[in-house]
Amino acid sequence: MDFLVAQFLNGLASASSLFLVASGLSIIFGVTRIVNFAHGAFYMLGAYIAYTLATTIPQPFGFWLALPLSALVVAAIGAVVEMTVLRRIYAAPELFQLLATFGITLMVEDLVVMIWGPEDLLGPRAPGLEGAIPIMGQLFPTYDLLVIAMGPLVLLGLWLLFHRTRWGVLVRAATQDRTMVAALGVNQKWLFTSVFTLGIFLAALGGALQIPREAVHHALDLQIIVEVFVIVVVGGLGNVLGAFLAAVLIAELNAFGILLFPKISLVLMFLVMAVVLVVRPWGLLGKPDAEARASIGQAIEPLRRMGPVSLAVSGLLVAALAALPLVAGPYLVIVTMELLIFALFAASLHLMMGVGGMVSFGHAAYFGLGAYGAALLVRFLGVPMELGILLGPLLALAGAILFGWFIVRLSGVYLAMLTLAFAQIVWSIIFQWYDVTGGDNGILGIWPARWASDPKVYYYIVLVLCVAGLVAIRRVIFSPFGYAVRACRDSTTRAEAIGLDRRRVQWMCFALAGAFAGVGGTLYAYLKGSVFPDVISIATSVDGLVMVLLGGIQTVAGPIVGAVAYKALSIYMTSQVEYWQLILGGLIVVLVVAFPEGIAGFWQARVAPRLRAATGRGWEARS
């Protein structure tokens, strides 16, 4: 019993820091509609800077000054980031901001290693609160009581801010309809900057508060961002009280889950999120989004079929790829296989997010299921490669059918978060189900059949299947089914009014996309000869997103271009540069700011028209 109380208090303490970070994320999303992936990075930065301040300023003031100072410093950095990067891309298609903040995360991860080194850093204890006090016979750290108090205090402070100041009222108004706020004479720019700064301040304060409690290290950002995403979504996006309740719920779940269900402790949080989202699609306290008002003047460009020139170029490209093993060495052949596989992966993601309008943060799940499908068949049934390639993707298809049924019940960011939850569930199962999947050790020895063991031979299998997959995806996009999918994306109500079963169409689209990703995953498993839980990690999912967005979401060729560019770049960078994340992240940010419509989109919008010469003013339409 006493132990349970202590465990409960522990849960509350982590709930407080989670809430600080989550409330910041929630406020930022509410107003700017940015899913700030870099929020975890700012949290981490808060912890690092607090560490430095607390260890350089003499105690006892050092520590207590370090907390607010580091939060202020990081908030200032956040303001600069908002003004220099985000401000330029608010008008860009949704999710571009996500890409930019992902780039910033990559940069921060390398920067902290450059500045503070890769070792874990242990911060000083809080002067005056070093000890522990007995609570029902158990010693409980005094400092943690302060942390517990911080949660409700910040909640109260935010409530007063939002209900007792004009700024707060403007923020609440902008959360509902920011265009209207601008049309009433409010300068959105400064509202966005101030909101972003406040959100980052809270994240950094959450990080700084942690230094006496846990070691500061350079993976803190991803560790917290996933939990915080879950909390924000469970609580209801943009709802601060919801974030508080969800933080307590998730933190207590973690605290007790590890005692009660040690075997599935990692899955627990995501299961709860999945259940909440299916029962209450807008989170505990969230309100149904008033059908995200497409800001006036934003139009989705229709996807276009290939012209004769593009067809010829594609044909030449395939011919060149077919000839590649004749001239290239094994390294280039292997790299090209990887590029082909990821082109298929990115195209399958594009099928659901670009064509289907369902943005996935967890597409790696289906890639990984394809890989594990083949690997498990090899491990337990010893099936030959030919059969493995055929059957492996079926596990991905099955997973996509199962998860898709839930996922198509939601839309927008909530849908994206549910895909993330399912991906994390798959990852956790594979990570924790050691007897079957080998957990962290993965499954080894998944090699191609003897006749295909030469990479140059296996290359042709990959080439044929990937090109076939890409052609098939293209055909799906321009088939009647593809038009139905796009109709459901563009207007749910109108699609339903002409007799389309929206959920069914989207469900099939999701399943198809999962199956194609699974083909990629299976091929990847045989290419590497092994599979590890990493293939399902968030990093893989985000890689897919980056590829699609980088290439251009409004074109069919975009994801392929994006996949090749991004993958080639990251393969090259990891082998050549020590701080490759810094450069890659910087590049992503620059690309996003310079080409908000993606590489292929930029080509289509800016370069191609000039090549075709002016075609007049476009068509006439009625408003």
């Binding site: 008008a91 108004a173 509902q176 009433l184 004479g185 409010v186 008033a290 139009a299 009625r622």
Partner: protein
Amino acid sequence: MMLEVRDLNAWYGRAHILFDVTLGVERGTVVALLGRNGAGKTTTFASLIGLVPSVTGAVTFDGEPIQGRPAHEIVRRGLGYVPEDRRIFTGLTVEENLMVGAQPPRPGVPHWTPEMLYELFPNLAELRKRQGGHMSGGEQQMLTIARTLMGNPSLVLLDEPSEGLAPRIVEQMAQALIEMKRQGLTLILSEQNLHFARLISDRATIIEGGRVRFAGTFADLDANPEISAQHLAV
């Protein structure tokens, strides 16, 4: 001319919506912008207020060009905008909705306070603490106008203020607009309801298919019944 619009063209993506729209309004007068659904009335207003990204043409407000300026700057010069679909902030109370619209006083135009607006729209007075989402359509429409007036505009663009209102409320709305005019405000009113427009307006401009088809007085319009038959009849 208080507001002068010349050769306004607007696009959504590659779709061309407005074609060389030209219109103007004299200080202290009311112009009705008439047209059917989809004629381009809302796009015209949205373009004037800076909410449509691809626009060409010249817009002069109070003698200064405003085309290409961001929405908040245009509004702060005294050009108020009342959108058609009552975009009130449903989670905010009536008082808070008014607070969002508040701007500093401007010389030469009425300086509105919440109290004055509660007099203009007596229905709102009893609802100060009511959440916007818990109000009737007519009350919401009044709040939308009151909220815009909090910005102390000299000219107000009203997008179909009578749309979807009960006849009794339409009557109150007309009274309120006439009072606004009496206070010296200049108004442009988009309408499908010719009768309502006639009650308030001095001149009419008819728009159809994104082009201006008629501009003149209501007397001119009545003298040429074929114009309304062609462009307004449903």
